[in-house]
Symmetry: C2
Subunit: 147 residues, 2 copies
């Protein structure tokens, strides 16, 4: 039943497949560390984006963290309850809210950052630092080209 009726590449060699497989390979060593810090991958993305950008409205946060609105609602409810994120009304828009990292939240990011940077260094050593930077750059260029 081999594929000889068309030009479709084997899934792992396709663009979508290679991107998914690469992401999976990259995340495998990182996930245990996040679990140890008590955050899921999605919660960590929210915290990271808030650390990057400071106080942010929810829509921007969702886009930046590559999450859907309802997921952000649910994740923030949890992070606020745990005191990692602070939520305030948006002074310029009565409908929306603004969230930012608490001191505890920032501390969590700083702790995990040490680990992720270390992991990145391992990847750099195995794959080549310049090569890795170029790969990231190409990924961003692809995104820009598609949009």
């Amino acid at each position: 039943m081999k594929t000889n009726h068309k030009k479709l590449l084997p899934y792992r060699h396709s663009l979508a497949g290679a991107l998914l497989a690469a992401r999976e390979a990259v995340m495998v060593p990182i996930r245990p560390m996040l679990a140890g810090a008590g955050v899921t991958e999605q919660q960590w993305r929210v915290l990271r984006v808030l650390d990057d950008a400071g106080p942010t409205d929810l829509k921007t946060l969702a886009e930046s963290a590559l999450l859907f609105g309802p997921s952000v609602t649910r994740i923030l409810k949890d992070l606020v309850e745990r005191g990692l994120v602070v939520r305030q009304p948006n002074p310029h828009d009565g409908r929306g809210a603004i969230v930012s990292l608490s001191t505890t939240g920032r501390a969590l990011i700083e702790e995990t950052a040490a680990h992720t940077i270390q992991q990145l260094n391992i990847y750099s050593r195995k794959f080549g630092d310049k090569r890795l930077k170029n790969l990231i750059s190409e990924l961003q260029a692809l995104i820009a080209a598609i949009e």
Copy 2:
């Protein structure tokens, strides 16, 4: 609240972030087509892998399609009910099963393949054919280097 306390890159410039964002950008135009064909992204991965590899046991299928075992169980139940996949006992192992594409399932893959190939061609035109092939090749090299 800018990030100046450590060397963590902004999320979109990080390896994990760039991979996730790139995958998302690539899939956005493809998802509506899959929805039109009546399959989810994960179901489509299962069908694609079966088209690549022919009759396959469930564990291999899960690994190839980047899915967990329980997801494969659930997805196959649906695909078999809809007549896209055929399930047979494994003659060499009484515990397991072997699944393969039905004629209908193969027809679905062939139809959608035309669309995905067309989309790939658009990406090639926008990003460069050689450049795109090289990107995929680098992704695979990264996976190999990490493991």
